[in-house]
């Protein structure tokens, strides 16, 4: 019953007026940051860090945590409305979410994203409270070999989520992997494919490429002749704001499954949350009776990944709270916030700082509640935004994106690169290549390469580690079977397609 006592203590801390206010500010700022394209969580938390100097440590961390998971809610908004994923975790949401918006169902898509996130957030919070300590073992069981295999699995997910040719999807992943190689090599520090451009020394930013191939490319494509008709149609088609009973029924199982997947994968530091959303999408597509609906506005394709990424955002706090090791850049900033207050988190942080840990866990639940209260009414406003004529909307999106990308590093070169990637993305659309696998390849590429090299360094060049370590072997086996399951029907479908076309 310790847990109930601890949770009660946590709620007592979190319900103090100042902490409630901090939680609200965090949720609001997080939503804003998530909605604005380009401006990422890392940059915002970094900017707000100095403000937390003057706050009590618990309040400061509650606020920073609120920004982190609040951005997960907000991030889905731009993905759905304008096809611009602000974070790597909302790339998948853009696939079906934006299609729903094009069919006039932006309201249900946004609402289901919020509801799924809320449910997942609540469950994951309970999970942190009850199973935080034992789950830590999972994070420690993952060595370089396991991570490499996990990344391979993640890339296979990207193949599965492609709606067109499997070959093209794989090519896009590899293209993404190549793009991720640009910049300094982690092991030797050598500059790779950077052409002596200082801004490229640390590689291409996710925001830069995502804004380019998703945001700018979409705008350029929409300006094509003949595209106006479709757009006007969208504006007339906008129907109900809230999901129907059928939507809710359809979404319930994906939300449950997404929550489970996200909760587990979120614990793994580095890439866990991204893979969680892709994994959830893949799972839904594989379980669906009619997988061809995916990529064409299936509500399950929004509900599953959105639940998964929010669950993962919550459980990614586990390594921080139980081991004192930050699993990602945002958490590293939170550790910075703690050290500024003289708390250096470590394995004993739960015993030594019960106020902080349990207060934060309780605040996550409150924060999720606040977020759904903030977000559901906002759905109406967002959908109304879609009624703005496109001739006024697109220059605004261009400006917002440009400012967002510029603000990441204060580097004009990043904005130019995003423009170049906009053209690349336009070209990709014209040749029927999908940008989502490219982005996943780009996000997972460095993790994959680093862990492959690390694993081989530790094993002294022995490739068998990937199959002799049980966890890694299981992951690779899953990846292999998934690939076979995907490629076989795709080959058959390709034949069918050929037949149907020759009949025409």
């Amino acid at each position: 019953m310790d847990i109930f006592a601890n949770l009660a203590h946590g709620f007592a801390v979190a319900f103090s007026p100042i902490n409630l206010l901090m939680c609200l500010i965090g949720a609001l700022v997080g939503t804003l940051v998530g909605v604005l394209p380009g401006i990422g969580t890392i940059a915002t938390v970094a900017m707000l860090l100095p403000i937390t100097f003057g706050l009590p440590p618990v309040g400061a961390l509650i606020m920073l945590a609120g920004i982190y998971y609040g951005a997960q809610y907000g991030g889905s908004t731009t993905s759905i409305l304008v096809n611009i994923p602000g974070e790597a975790t909302s790339v998948v949401t853009a696939i079906d979410g934006h299609q729903m918006a094009k069919q006039g169902r932006a309201g249900p898509a946004l609402a289901i994203a919020a509801i799924g996130s809320f449910f997942a957030g609540c469950v994951a919070t309970v999970l942190i409270a009850i199973l935080g300590a034992p789950l830590t073992k999972l994070a420690l069981a993952f060595g370089p070999a396991e991570y490499f295999s996990l990344m391979v699995l993640g890339l296979i997910f990207a193949v599965v989520l492609a709606k067109g040719s499997v070959l093209k999807a794989i090519a896009m992943i590899v293209f993404g992997l190549l793009l991720s190689m640009v910049g300094s090599d982690i092991e030797t520090g050598a500059s790779r494919m950077a052409f002596n451009i200082p801004e490229l020394a640390d590689g291409l930013g996710f925001a830069t490429v995502a804004m380019g191939v998703f945001g700018f490319a979409e705008i350029i494509r929409n300006l094509d002749h003949g595209a106006e008709m479709n757009r006007d149609l969208v504006q007339q088609k906008i129907t109900g704001l809230m999901p129907t009973k059928k939507d809710l029924l359809d979404s319930t199982p994906p939300i449950l499954r997404g929550t489970v997947l996200g909760s587990i994968l979120g614990i793994l530091p580095g890439g866990g949350a991204v893979i969680a959303s892709f994994a959830a999408y893949t799972l839904e597509k594989k379980l669906a009776k009619n997988p061809s609906r995916f990529g064409r506005g299936a509500i399950e394709g929004v509900a599953g990944p959105e639940s998964a990424n929010n669950a993962a955002a919550q459980t990614s706090f586990i390594p921080l709270l139980t081991l004192g090791i930050p699993p990602n850049a945002v958490m590293a900033l939170m550790v910075g916030a703690m050290t500024i207050h003289g708390i250096v988190p470590g394995p004993q942080v739960m015993q030594k700082q019960p106020d902080l840990v349990w207060g934060m866990i309780a605040s996550m639940w409150i924060g999720n509640l606040m977020l759904i209260i903030i977000n559901l009414p906002l759905v109406g406003i967002w959908v109304r935004l879609l009624r703005v004529p496109y001739r006024l909307m697109f220059p605004s999106i261009v400006i917002f994106c440009a400012i967002g990308i510029y603000s990441v590093n204060n580097a004009p070169v990043d904005v130019i690169l995003a423009g170049v990637f906009g053209l690349v993305g336009y070209w990709l659309i014209k040749h029927d290549f999908e940008p989502a696998p490219l982005l996943l390849g780009m996000v997972l590429g460095p993790l994959m390469e680093e862990n492959l090299r690390r694993a081989l360094l530790i094993s002294r060049g022995d490739w068998s580690v990937f199959v002799t370590r049980p966890l890694s072997a299981v992951l690779l086996a899953v990846a292999a079977s998934l690939l076979i399951l995907t490629v076989l029907p795709a080959l058959r479908a390709k034949r069918d397609e050929v037949f149907t076309e020759s009949e025409n």
């Binding site: 520090g189 250096v344 394995p347």
Partner: protein
Amino acid sequence: MTFIRALAGACAAALASLGAFVAPVEAQTYPTRSITMIVPFAAGGPTDVVARIVTSHMAQTLGQSIIIENVVGAGGTTATTRAARAANDGYTLITGHMGTHAASVPLYPKLAYHPEKDFEPIALLAGTPILILARKDFPPKDLKEFVTYVKANAEKVNAAHAGVGSVSHVSCELLHSILDIKPVGVPFNGTGPAMNALVAGQVDYMCDQIVNAVPQINAGTIKAYAIATPERNPSLPNVPTTAEAGLPKFQAQAWNAIFAPKGTSPAIVASLNAAAVKALDDETVRKRLLELGSVIPSPAERTPESLAALVKGEIAKWTPVLKPAT
């Protein structure tokens, strides 16, 4: 002779007092707007925390806000290059560290700046001791055993580090050059993942700054063999110094210091130095730095001249260690 020396001393004292008299006048006129402090690492990292603690006090002294700008990339050299090219009007400063202003010289042959030629040293802020850490079930019990074990098993052991050019990388290179071994170095993307791997037992040992290590050592998830400073650290009273444990040659500290672009006027340097020195004498600043395990420089170490000497000495120290590594 003694007379001349006394006269020279008196002149120097007079000049110094004149300078001290001029400095506050300058200080009133000099910071007329906010100052940008470039921190070459991500917010929340050890350098950033030190910079924020000290500059928040300096801002009070100077009467202008100091805005911290975190510019990350290429082991901090991106930011340092930008600072070297900034206007030398005293409104752009940088909190450099051992990596950006010493180890970068041998590490990056195409470095776009030189720590000595392109910067005016202002003041040393803090030193962060470096520890030799190992996974908790690593066989050696103390530093002597560690040295023999690592030398005997140089082919088998793995040393973790947080990326090329990081403090953990260069300090381990120093250790390896002293022991004359070349074990496999496993790079991680930052201290967090490296520490995770050490706690999980995936790698054998690493050299890291005290900040992140103290709670892990206290919790028994990793062990520490020695601290590479002349004195023991109050936050880890049980960890012997390298001298006590039998490896006196291994001395390493990650230091943080403020620099201004070359050509910044001496009056501005003096007023910034005075503000930094005042901050280091402040009780709350000291308390916070000590909580981080930092070593606060003695008054003699806080002058621009001693910082210049430190930079010179550090470059000389790291160049032979790191040159063959790249």
